[in-house]
Amino acid sequence: MNPAATAFVIRAEMAKTIRIYFSYPIIMVYWAIFPVLWVFPFLFQGKALVGSTSSAAFQQMTGSGNYMAFILIGAMVSNFVFSGLWGVGNSLREETYWGTMEYIIASPTHPLIVLIGKTLAEASITTCIVIMQAAIISLLPFGISFTAAKVLPVLLLVVLLMVGFYGFAIAFAGFTLLIKEVHGWVHTLEWVFFLFSPIRYPVQVNPITSFVSVLIPLTWALVAIRGIILLNQHEVGLWKISGILLAMDAALLVAGYYTFVALERKTRRDGTIGMH
């Protein structure tokens, strides 16, 4: 396929994904509001365990005792990761459910191109949702403010985080071709991220989670983003962390591509593409 035809397919897939997404408009409202609601149990847990909105032990580990701000930032940034997992990683399984998987496989387009279209659509939708969440959060009294000086480096970090992560999600989409029923696996992966990266708690609290977290790009991104937004540290080693994320991106993209291609080839050879 020539580049123009490829671009056309990507655009068509984006339009299709967004159209399906907006067939259920309530989903957009749900994603804007509920991830913010999910952090309230942690506020209540904090109040029950320490009796105030600030924790000295938390401050020792993270530099800030404001545990709510810590969690809210984790919730917003992790949105990108989780929507990628569901929207890209699970997307081919959804095509199976819709009965359109065989058409995609039989079309003269490589499934990877279709996945790129889905990825771009998912990224656009998630960005809109996170902007809505940021607007809601900045109105709440949790000590989080967004200024241009903070938002620009944060955007850079989010882009670097997501490039690598979409590589991982594409590999995961290949995995769905192989094992079919991945709904539960996506949930588990989601919680593995909750456990091994500092989305909801400082991973230093346990030596195992602390060790594993270093291998996850989300950890690096969250540490830097919290440093910028919460601690006003503009020189938190942004370039160093950007370099680490870039290296991880390269590794994940290459690994994601080859994993997907290998798994897709294996599924075709086994003749199990149409199986449910």
């Binding site: 509920f34 109040k47 365990l49």
Partner: protein, 308 residues
């Protein structure tokens, strides 16, 4: 399904007169026979779900590990906040300091909530995705029997998951509980499950209208998670949430289980807790059956059952 039920609104084909050909030759007319017939259907649905689940053995194993992975962030978050395992503030609020035991016992109940919200709530949508919703609806048993079969499978699955979770926590954190409290705690869970069945029926019916049932389950799950005292006592919630929590069966399940197992002060007596859950059972089950029947009828009248 081998047999139908005479006189049931749901049956499409009744037994014929003696000596004539009938699809369901021996239909139980007595209450006992009818109950046995329903029990058979519940069991068949339960077995079907297990067969489907065990078709993906890796996924089944994963589901047993999940509860541990889900629980740990809550426990670690608590430890990070307090700087250790014991919280003096929790002691002031409920009379117990051990946050690991407190959170673990509370968290077990999320599994039961998931039964109502996901296993039952999402059950009809799953059948729709499999393309088997219409055959299920044409089966000669009421729909509540079908959802009960789903919940039976889910309850058995939840107990397996809870067992894994407790074994892990016992091995790693040495859970401190009173073993004598186990039986009364299980009794409370049993009553609570009946009330949750009612909520599950409501969730299942919403799928018939909204189709994308996961959204309703997620939204409802998020709200229930907020008001249910899983990792915190009721006292830290705003007053309106405390009142809302009293209408949720899992609130009593958690409070009573923690009371029996680790001496948490509930703020009301054990008898009151059982009485309130019994009342909630009646309210939720009646509401669940009535709402489900009304939505089921309206969906069939409007012809939108097979809409996607």
């Amino acid at each position: 399904m081998k047999r139908g039920i005479k006189g049931s609104r749901d049956q499409a084909i009744e037994s014929g007169p003696s000596g004539t050909l009938s699809l369901y030759p021996s239909i139980p007319g007595s209450l006992l026979g009818r109950l046995r017939h329903y029990a058979n259907a519940v069991w068949a649905e339960n077995i079907k779900e297990w067969k489907l689940e065990l078709t993906y053995p890796l996924d089944f194993l994963r589901s047993l590990v999940d509860p541990v992975v889900y629980l740990l962030p809550y426990v670690f978050y608590g430890i990070a906040l307090v700087g250790g395992r014991f919280s003096p503030n929790l002691q002031k609020l409920v009379g117990t300091t051990d946050i690991v035991s407190f959170i673990t016992i509370g968290y077990v109940f999320i599994g039961f909530m998931n039964m109502a919200l996901w296993a039952m709530g999402f059950s009809l949508r799953k059948e729709q995705m499999y393309g088997t919703l219409e055959p299920v609806f044409a089966a000669p048993v009421p729909r509540w029997v079908f959802t009960m079969g789903m919940s039976m499978h889910s309850i058995l699955h939840q107990f397996l998951m809870i067992l894994t979770q407790l074994l892990f926590i016992l091995a790693v954190f040495s859970l401190k509980v009173n073993p004598l409290g186990l039986l009364p705690a299980l009794a409370m869970i049993g009553v609570m499950l009946i009330a949750l069945y009612g909520i599950g029926m409501i969730m299942a019916s919403t799928t018939l209208i909204f189709k994308q049932g996961w959204l309703i389950s997620e939204a409802m799950g998020s709200l229930l998670m907020l008001v249910t005292p899983i990792a915190y006592p009721l006292a830290v919630l705003p007053v309106f949430m405390q009142k809302a929590a009293l209408a949720v069966p899992t609130t009593y399940g958690i409070l009573a289980a923690r009371h029996f197992l680790m001496g948490e002060q509930m703020g009301f007596s054990v008898g009151t807790a059982f009485l309130r859950v019994a009342v909630l059972c009646v309210i939720w089950v009646v509401c669940g059956l009535v709402i489900f029947a009304a939505i089921d009828r309206s969906t069939r009248k409007s012809g939108t059952l097979s809409h996607y």
